[in-house]
């Protein structure tokens, strides 16, 4: 299996760390997995590009460790670290919207990649919803960064989330409709993003070709 470092977007790390990560991918037991986990999580909270795809490298390490000796030290550390950050998410958001957005992106990415017997991790379902609901709150809708993050996650994992808990998805979309209709001061970009995601879900988590044309094609003036 070809694992080019490009797949895992680890170029942003310094060379020593890159070596450590590559070793973790091939021979997890030979490295300190707690430390590896820490490095990955810390970077995910800082680097938006990395947070979007960090799930992949995590998945590979989890698989490698399970195969090597049936261990799940890495997964356990990862989940508990995620839980820690989750508990402190409001403080994180107050401190830095950027970091908060990175966290949501990361946890959703983990939800996407790390499955248990091909099922999403039940433990993450509610926390993910909690994060998305937070992004759908009026104060968050005022920030394009947060709206953008919200719709991105829904594009990626909305369908899966709905399958495991449709009630909460309904609740989330009540908020989104309200936000779109009633929220004053939304930028036109924010409103566009919201309208698109409303149509996206209504279309069964995909856009009709005409809608796609509307949102994604260059509109001749």
């Amino acid at each position: 299996m070809e694992n080019s470092s490009d797949d895992y977007r680890i170029q942003s790390f310094d060379l020593d760390t890159q070596v450590l990560l590559k070793t973790a991918l091939k021979d997890p037991n030979s490295v300190n997995l707690e430390k590896v986990c820490s490095i990955i999580v810390d970077q995910s909270l800082k680097d938006q590009v990395f947070s979007k795809e960090a799930g992949r490298i995590c998945y590979t390490i989890v698989q490698a460790e399970a195969k090597q000796n049936n261990g799940n030290v890495f997964r356990r550390n990862l989940l508990n670290r995620l839980q820690q950050e989750f508990k402190g998410r409001e403080e994180t958001r107050a401190r830095s919207i950027q970091e908060w957005v990175c966290y949501v992106t990361f946890i959703c990415n983990i939800f996407d990649y790390l499955k248990v017997n091909n099922m999403p991790m039940v433990a993450l379902v509610h926390p993910v919803y909690d994060c998305l609901m937070r992004l759908a709150n009026p104060d968050a809708l005022m920030n394009e960064e947060e709206v953008d993050c919200l719709v991105l996650q829904l594009h990626r994992i909305g369908e899966q989330l709905e399958k495991v808990n449709s009630q909460r998805m309904d609740e989330l979309f009540f908020l989104l409709r309200d936000g779109f209709l009633l929220q004053e001061g939304l930028t036109s970009m924010a409103r566009l993003l919201l309208l698109e995601i409303l149509e996206f879900r209504a279309g069964g988590w995909m856009l009709s070709s005409t809608a796609h044309k509307y949102y994604y094609s260059e509109i001749a003036d």
Binding site: G71, N80, F86, V116, N117, A123, R168
Partner: protein, 281 residues
Amino acid sequence: MSDWKRDRRRGAHSEERESRSVGLSRWSHCRKRGVDGNLRSSSKVDGREKDNDRHIEGSHRYPDGRHSSFTTPESTGPVTRCSQQADWGSQVEDDEMRRDVHRDMQRRRILGAEVTERERKTSSGSSESNDSKEGDNIETDEAVLLRRQKQINYGKNTLAYDRYIKEVPKHMRQAGIHPKTPNKFRKYSRRSWDQQIKLWKVKLHAWDPPSENGLNEVLDNIEEPDLGDVMDIELDFPSLADSQNASVSLRTHLLSVEDDDCLGTPVKVQRTESTVEADMA
């Protein structure tokens, strides 16, 4: 019984499992320690905040200040509640185990039917060779199966087990000599099952990684009946919980100080040593 901590690959994170894996079944579901090894009585109730409580499916809210862990006789109710409060790592592991057990149950249902068919045809008198004869003798209670699977997992998550399965492939195993995982689908009394697990784990120790001070040879030479003495020592502890607490901190110290030397030292022997040390201190 088996607090054979050295052979667990997980380090400090397995502290919780240590306290859970001690043989006394009454406390086997009591999570007195969090994953980090600290007593949980003063810790927060739940990872979720109050405003998330309404989203807990099917369960009730916990008022603030309620202890997150409590000793209970084993039953299905408290067990599920405990596991809902656990850290995400444990939740996912429990979920994974539950799925595995369900999958096993399904397999058993399918295979069990086939076995029964075969038996009717051959009308074999032996009850030993087949794992579960009829529907009557199959354990189907999910809580029981989960508990048993957990105990099996503790035994399998050891270096000794790893080495054993690598060394002795299934077809080479001889009854009586090579340890065999107890069959969770057979009906046994609680005592009988727990005893089987104990004996199985003891047998597995023959495959412990080699240690420098040769305690493994001592273990290898112990006949099963002789373990009665050692087991009695355990039962003599008035409240295992207390002695556990005391010895865990000593154990941790010993772990960090002696490290590689004592890889094979079973904790029970170690506990005796540390008790002696405490006496002599």
